[in-house]
Amino acid sequence: MKRRNFIYLSGVGASALMLSNLPSYGTPIDPLQSLETVDVRIKKELADVALNTAKSKGASYADIRIGRYLNQAVITRETRVLNVANAESFGVGVRVLVNGCWGFAASNVVTKDGVAKTAERAVAVAKANAKIGGAPVQLAPQKGYGEVSWKTPIEKNAFEVPIKEKVDLLLAANGVALAGGANFVNSTILAINEQKYFASTDGSYIDQDIHRLYPNFSVTKIDAAKGAFETRAALSSPVGMGYEYLTPTASEKMQGVVTRYRNRYDMMEDMKNATKNAAEKVNAKTVEPGKYDLVLDPSHLWLTIHESVAHPTELDRVLGYEANYAGTSFLNLDKLKSGNFKFGSPNMNIVADKNQKGSLGAVGYDDEGVKPKEWQIVKDGTLVNFQAIRDQAHMIGLNESQGCCYAQTWADVQFQRMPNVSLQPGKTPLSVDDMIKKVDKGIYIVGNGSFSIDQQRYNFQFGGQLFYEIKGGKIVGMLNDVAYQATNQEFWNSLAAVCDERDYRLGGAFNDGKGQPSQSNAVSHGSSTALFKGVNVINTKRRIG
């Protein structure tokens, strides 16, 4: 996952006018414009121009993505609206295979002449690079689907909800925090709509309308006398849903020491709890370092799954394609082929998919025109598969792609990105309360915090939002300054139990980073609450001077 952008240089601008320079946000537009769509017939005509041009210039394969990517961000702090930004990014990306080498070009000039020139540039790039040599690209066969379409099954399009309704919700929630004694509160609603059209020389013309939503906040409590401050972030998740996610629903709440949420989120309630939690954190007991049993809530565990399981099973990392940026992997082809590599305990079952309803990864087709599959990556603790796309499938003996190719916008080349990667719930009935009862000395962690892992995914350190001390099967109070450090395989082999499917929830990353130039991907990771035995916990407290 990418870190928050806390690096500030005035030359790259904070003003609204500079928004267009932020690739993840495109260029600002009128909110009403976001409801317009581009006629699919026009897109097909443009696609055919690009594909025919590429073929006539010598491409053995070509695809084009005509993308309209919309973002809306409503950003507030305390009693003020800081920004309402509607951004659009519209253009084409053409990828070609010439002499066994990839070439890619992109442009915001979406005319017949513009896409033809873009296709020509892509061919020129491929030809220049083919001279360097290397093993020719082998594409797994893929049948064309003809003219098809797919849409995220949303109930309420976030872009159709008036800005005022979003502002009112955020300012009302901020009001709850301020009334509860918070010093500062920031809150946001981010909505994304990818209207993307894919066509290839295989005969697919795929029109998709993908929606994602992320409500989030952070409450800060300051103790000026101590020179200390603590924050508590929202326990919401980014989701592949419409605005319906923000409709509080009692049956989607998980009750406990703090309320957590499944398919619907109650921002007002969570803000009230967060305000109380932030104040509690300022005065919480600092943790005694040592070995603890960890009870990890899905709002926390998703990030550990993401970093320690989903990333090291990306085939491009395993093979060395990410060596210069994201890194490689402690896994390799030999460990997969052996059929007996014990990634974790028998309680560890990991499944990959791009189908789960409400998940960030859900699509009808990936960005190279493949219908996504569902497949097991770890079965009863044993590594059984990786994640592969069309030009990688042959490397692990597959004769088709698993359908996990993605590009963040039209301007970026598509490549292998992780699908949703999830820990399957336990098969034996087990509630969170019953799990906690079994723990003598432990910490119950809710929400994700600081995270860091090495380039081969051996050694990691994770923080969290809320840390509750467990003694003799009971929660006895709140802890602070907690982070756990572990070696990946050792950690997953300490997985002693997973709660059953009643507790299964999705967490996720809106901005997983990989590739050069770096691209963002959105994925969900599901799990039920899980128990890890005897994990090393450190105390992170330091002082300046």
Partner: protein, 443 residues
């Protein structure tokens, strides 16, 4: 062509402004073009060529602002985008922090543009990458690398008389070389305004030396060690503290907040040897000469002799606090010292040479406590000599604490942060009591 000259940009912006009926109107125009090649396993994996041009208009009535953009440039489209921004402004909530636009300002010309970099082509990129791959193959290693060049311009104009324009080029190259057995890894990264300074062959040779030198790494006990950080390692650690923002410090939520309230402006926070400043006119690291909101940028010390010399104040926060606005840094330069890397090693009884750091994340913003790991060449030093390569380790340390423990500084070099890909001028540095917390098997 997406890159407009100053005169072309000015003429276009004047025309857009002529359609405005708002109290305030600010326009931004930006364009960029460039390309990249990515390699892995000694071959090209992906490559691209991208160009864009866009216009953004912000209109304000009272304290209500609306922004709209467009990437079509006929007269009707230009008028449409102005009207749309005005309609949006009427619908927008009032922003109590809105500041009126600045009037005319005087800016010095920047040195951020280089013709040779702007003239790069798919072929010239391929040649530079081929030179790198040759060095990797000659050393019996697998290279994965990335070369990217960008030419961009940004211009802004408002209806109070402000006009600013800047054009810049940038080329960055990074390469990781690994041996076939996966037991050795090395890295090099370079970034320049002028491509003629970039030698992909020489950089790859350094990465290859690190890769072959890191084979056979031994484990040592984690704990507190004297470290010598090469600039690539130091800059990534320090990048986390370069914001120097007054507002978050005043609000009590920054490492620059003073206990009991207020900021640490004027306090001694680091070792006497630490001098950190920004200077858009630095010959090695030229930067834009104006800030995003149109204020001229000048040489500014942030840390001088270890003392917090300046904090950046936005125009709004400056007005609220009754001080002069000061834009944040557009580049960062840290002064060095007289020691060479060899001298630093020679004077070290027991320590660790760190080539690169990796995956640094904030653990506690109150003291800028960070965690991350070493990578691509970590070596044990004993009695003034490099003894053997060691396994990578996780650290838990704050750059502020680290800069209190400076033993020696070397000559500043232009170095890239491996996370943001920004360039900085940073010296190699010898630091005592750097905290390593655990071992990693990663190579």
């Amino acid at each position: 062509m997406p890159i407009l000259s100053k005169e072309e940009a000015q003429a276009l912006l004047k025309k857009v402004l002529s359609y405005s009926k708002a109290d305030e109107c600010e326009i931004g125009l930006s364009g960029n073009e460039g390309g990249n090649i990515r390699t892995a396993l000694n071959a090209v994996s992906t490559a691209g060529d991208i160009s864009t041009l866009g216009l953004a208009v912000s209109s304000t009535f009272g304290k209500k602002t609306g922004t709209a953009t467009i990437n079509e440039f006929d007269d009707a489209s230009l008028e449409k985008v102005v009207r749309r921004s005005e309609e949006l402004a009427q619908l927008a909530p009032e922003n109590p922090e809105h500041m009126p636009p600045l009037g005319p300002q005087t800016f010095a010309e920047s040195n951020t543009y280089n013709e040779k970099t702007a003239a790069m082509t798919p072929e010239s990129r391929a040649d530079m990458v081929a030179a790198s791959l040759k060095a990797s193959k000659d050393a019996g290693l697998d290279a994965a690398g990335f070369l990217e060049n960008t030419t961009s311009f940004y211009a802004t104009m408002n209806n109070k008389g402000l006009f600013a324009y800047n054009k810049s080029t940038d080329v960055t190259f990074s390469v990781t070389t690994r041996n076939k057995a996966g037991t050795g890894s090395g890295y090099a990264a370079r970034g320049f305004t002028d491509v003629s300074k970039l030698d992909t062959l020489a950089a790859t040779k350094i990465a290859a030396q690190k890769a072959n030198g890191s084979v056979g790494a031994r484990a040592i006990e984690p704990g507190k060690y004297t470290v010598i950080l090469e600039p690539t390692a130091a800059v990534y650690m320090m990048e986390n503290m370069f914001r120097f923002d007054a507002r978050s410090a005043d609000e009590g939520r920054s490492y620059l907040s003073k206990r009991g309230g207020g900021t640490r402006l004027g306090e001694k926070l680091m070792d006497d040897k630490v001098n950190i400043y920004s200077d858009p006119f630095n010959a090695e690291l030229p930067a834009n000469t104006w800030s995003g909101d149109g204020l001229p940028l000048e040489k500014t010390y942030w840390i001088q002799n270890g003392v917090v010399k300046n904090l950046s104040y936005s125009r709004y926060w400056a007005e609220k606090k009754g001080v002069k606005p000061l834009p944040g840094p557009s580049n960062i330069i840290m002064d060095g010292g007289a020691s060479s890397l060899e001298e630093m090693i020679k004077s070290t009884e027991r320590g660790i040479l760190v080539s690169r750091l990796w995956y640094i994340r904030m653990v506690d913003p109150q003291v800028l406590a960070l965690t991350g790991l070493t990578r691509d060449g970590t070596f044990y030093i004993e009695n003034g000599k490099i003894k053997f390569p060691i396994k990578n380790m996780r650290f838990n340390e704050s750059p502020v604490i680290m800069l209190n423990n400076v033993e020696a500084l070397g000559k500043p070099e232009r170095a890239i942060s491996v996370e943001s890909y920004r360039s900085y001028m940073i010296p190699p540095m010898k630091i005592r009591d750097f905290t390593f917390s655990s071992l990693s098997d990663a190579v």
